[in-house]
Amino acid sequence: MKKELHITVNGDAHHLLVDTGRTLLDVIREDIGLTGTKNGCGAGECGACTVLLDNEPVNSCLVLAHEAEGRDVLTIEGLAVGGVLHPIQEAFVSQGAIQCGYCTPGMVMSTKALLDRNPDPTREEILRGLRGNLCRCTGYVKIVEAVEVAKCLLAEGEPG
């Protein structure tokens, strides 16, 4: 059954007709066409589909699209503003925290959620904050380094 859905994604308001069984991930990727958010398992176990829903990180494969009715979604495409990378993105690039890149959007969004919540996390807190995001390529070493660099960049008051 289809129902109307009002949803704001990266600041853009969308008014869609969406089947009630579909996930937020499906709607972001298929209806809105933002394919930066990835599907890694469809079961909330890998974190590749992480987006921020009203600033809270969610596995968008586990959220029904209609649960996001009237709410704000931020995806990876909404992070760089005016062609300028967000400091977290900058840090992931400079530290070599990206290999295949398939986990990267989710990893970056989880980092954003972590640093929004706690701008100065300890190493332990970083590990806890990103435990739900799997990466098969990097061994996470450079991801941890990137989060630490991002934390400093943000503290230095870079825009974002």
């Binding site: 690039v93 290999q99 295949c100 990267t104 435990r131 799997l134 996470y140």
Partner: protein, 758 residues
């Protein structure tokens, strides 16, 4: 020589598209009229198909095609076609839980799934074999009828006189080592889109590590000319060997597309990826190592049984490669390697980072520590005494040019604090350190009877560079490596390089990204192409500036005459050459890895490897006596790079390999009951998460003697090879228990600790 670009830890050239979500993967492609394909898979490990009724599925609204074995070519397929054993869709019987039985194409995912559920298959269950012992027993049910037994592929290698050496040497250790099925677990699952055009050409969009050989494989199984198949890659969400050999979803999508006249996409679910996406080959290895009193390893004797699963795929090639690495690690004069590949009613194996080497290295390097213990000497000393050396031929014929093994061993031992930690007084903490060496190919192999690569370069009229290479980037970063090589050789900045490498209509024929091959092979071709283009560029500059070509210098896209302070942008020179003389600048490069004299495929053995790479890992572990958990605290990984092309990326390859190695050593195993995988999701099949990782110190050891680009070797796989034995050796050091089977799970550790207390 000063270098501007080689060796630096520059960011990947695809980092920005990947970090902004702009990078398109095959699953992201959108197409007009795209249909969704789904595969009906066998629920039984071994059964005869009595009947298939597709009527209800075909009548479902939104279903455009339903196919079974009678709709697809009956040709059998394998990586080695002379061992062909796999059909596109099973017609008579299924051989594992997950075997392809039928497929549908529908307007959307839900409809396709519903159609699949409406297909009725009547099976007659057959007795199945799940482990190699069972499968090899006389009279065991045959996975493939017509064979005499379930083992119809084997290999023997013999160098020296192992029996004599075993009888005469002073120390012999013997043991059986077992490894299990590890899943590649790429974050992007295997997927493809197939589409025919009006000229009967088939285009496949897929995440393939070897698009050209997959193009041949698709043509071979469909019985169509190779020229009619085009394979297009996008960004790839991981490979690790899983995407080398064609998966049956590709010809299935092709047939569905042919019938419907529309593009058809098939994407593995995560469960399909775990249960049908193929695994690392499980090995059971019975090994003997013998040494003289003065610590010289004189003999190694290995009986190996590889569990193929239901089909051969890369099994024969994997075991062959195992034998080469087994024969080459240390210069052991007497070597015997006897291996069998055995069919069982399970998901098949395939290539997986390390390609059979992590399994045998687990056995050889674990046993080396057992030998050291028996001899009462330090495992470090035993390794150092037997270390491979440069510029020699081993007893099995391996030609070692550069070799940094001793240096790697020393660096890893120093990094972990070997001497101090071995001498540490017992403070009650269950801590230990372990070492393991490895040898691996640093440049693919000559297994096809040849090993070559080509690349093309063209400069735009503004001096930017388009590099056409077949080096396939599955995430490991070979595009950046190729761009760095081209930029350094040509004297342009990295930002000026644009890579095209994703389309078999465009790229030169190539064997693909495997065996730590791309840097060495494609890198050499790229360097040659850049050198070729540079000759033209220098000639143009000399003409324009009225100088001798020998005096022209190019660096970072600036050109000047030796001794002159006036620098010219490269764009001026190219613009002049193109627009004044009608002479565009381009270059062609080819690298042919010359085969050694007398090379033949059946006899070449270790001469198949164009360049070897050596490395050592040292680890420290701590064991929790309450839970049995082995916690890896630190890994020091010293690996040879020849010449480091990109420091950050080389470290990244080692760190990622170690993560997969820790998974292989401690966590990962597909568990089956009656042939059915029980842990087909990340919740149950655990791969290392960010909290499981130790501190890693990656040490890049540069060494000479390799004819790779700027002296570089491949670094994609070595980091995985010695991780498991180093951990097993550290566990022994910590608790005095020797584990002969991977993964070393908490249960196994607790059980061992309990038995030890008795």
């Amino acid at each position: 020589m000063t270098r501007c670009i080689i060796g630096k830890g520059l960011p990947r050239i695809d980092a920005i598209p990947k970090v902004t979500g702009e990078a398109e993967y095959t699953v992201d492609l959108k197409m007009q009229g795209l249909l969704i394909g789904k595969i009906l898979r066998s629920p039984h490990p071994h059964a005869r198909i009595k009947s298939i009724d597709t009527t209800a599925a075909a009548q479902l609204q939104g279903v455009l095609a339903v196919i079974t074995a009678k709709d697809v070519p009956g040709t059998l397929f394998s990586f080695y076609q002379w061992l062909a054993d796999k059909n596109i869709l099973c017609g008579e019987k299924v051989r594992y839980v997950g075997d392809e039985v039928a497929a549908v194409a529908a307007v959307d995912e839900d409809t396709a799934e519903e159609a699949i559920s409406l297909i009725k298959v009547e099976y007659e269950l057959l007795p199945a074999v799940f482990d190699i012992e069972e499968a090899m027993r006389p009279g065991a049910p045959l996975v493939h009828e017509g064979n005499e037994s379930n083992s119809n592929w084997n290999v023997q290698r013999l160098f020296g006189d192992p029996d004599k050496a075993l009888a005469e040497c002073d120390y012999v250790v013997e043991g059986t080592y077992v490894t299990h099925a590890q899943a590649h677990s790429c974050l992007e699952t295997s997927n493809c889109v197939a589409k025919w055009d009006m000229k009967d050409r088939l285009t496949i969009w897929t995440n393939a590590q070897a698009p050209h050989t997959q193009r041949q494989e698709v043509a071979r199984i469909l019985g169509i000319p190779r020229r009619n198949v085009r394979v297009i890659n996008s960004h790839m969400g991981g490979g690790f060997g899983s995407k080398l050999v064609m998966d049956m979803k590709v010809p299935i999508a092709a047939v569905l597309s042919k019938i419907t006249g529309r593009p058809v996409r098939i994407v593995n679910t995560r469960s399909e990826e775990f249960t049908t996406g193929k695994t690392r080959y499980p090995y059971t290895m019975h090994l003997k190592t013998g040494a003289t009193r003065d610590g010289q390893i004189v003999v190694r004797d290995l009986e190996l049984i590889g569990d193929a699963g239901a089909y051969h795929d890369k099994g024969p090639a994997t075991i062959n490669f195992s034998s080469m690495m087994f024969g080459t690690l240390y210069n052991v004069p007497n070597i015997r390697f006897e291996a069998k590949l055995v069919y069982t009613n399970k998901e098949m194996g395939t290539a997986f980072r390390g390609f059979g080497n992590p399994q045998v290295t687990f056995a050889t390097e674990s046993q080396l520590d057992e030998l050291a213990a028996k001899m009462g000497i330090d495992p470090f000393d035993l390794r150092m005494r037997n270390s491979n050396c440069a510029m020699g031929t081993t007893s099995c014929g391996a030609e070692i040019c550069g070799c940094g093994m001793s240096e790697c061993l020393q660096a890893a031992a120093d990094g972990i604090g070997w001497e101090a930690k071995k001498a540490r007084p017992d403070d009650g903490a269950l801590r230990g350190v372990g070492l393991a060496n490895m040898v691996h190919t640093g440049g693919g192999g000559r297994f096809y009877g040849f090993n070559s690569a080509e690349a093309f370069i063209k400069l735009s009229d503004e001096g930017t560079v388009t590099l056409i290479t077949s080096a396939l980037d599955m995430g490991q970063g070979s595009h950046t490596t190729m761009a760095q090589i081209a930029a350094e050789e040509l004297g342009v900045s990295l930002d000026d390089i644009n890579i095209l490498s994703n389309d078999t209509d465009l790229t030169p024929y190539d064997l693909g990204s495997w065996g730590s091959r791309a840097t060495f092979m494609d890198g050499n071709a790229v360097q040659a192409a850049a050198r070729d283009a540079k000759v033209a560029l220098v000639a143009a500059a000399a003409e324009m500036l009225g100088a001798d070509p020998a005096d022209i210098l190019i660096e970072e896209s600036q050109i000047w005459v030796k001794g002159s302070a006036e620098k010219h942008p490269l764009s001026d020179i190219v613009d002049h050459s193109v627009n004044e003389h009608g002479s565009p600048i381009s270059g062609t490069g080819r690298f042919v890895d010359t085969l050694p004299e007398g090379y033949t495929i059946p006899t070449a053995f270790a001469k198949n490897i164009p360049c070897f790479s050596f490395g050592t890992q040292a680890v420290e572990v701590e064991i929790d006596p309450e839970t049995g958990q082995v916690r890896v605290l630190k890994v020091v990984a010293a690996h040879e790079t020849g010449t480091t092309i990109n420091q950050t990326m080389a470290e990244g390859q080692i760190e990622g390999s170690i993560a997969q190695g820790i998974g292989f050593a401690l966590m990962e195993r597909l568990l089956r009951v009656d042939g059915k995988v029980q842990n087909d999701r990340f919740l149950d099949y655990k791969i290392p998460n960010i909290g499981d990782m130790p501190e890693i110190e990656a040490i890049l050891v540069e060494s000479e003697g390799t004819n790779g680009p700027f002296g570089a070797k491949g670094i994609g796989e070595p980091g995985l090879v010695p991780t498991a034995p180093a951990i097993a050796n550290a566990v022994f050091d910590a608790i005095g228990v020797r584990f002969h089977e991977l993964p070393i799970t908490r249960d196994a550790v607790l059980k061992a600790l309990k038995e030890k207390q008795k």
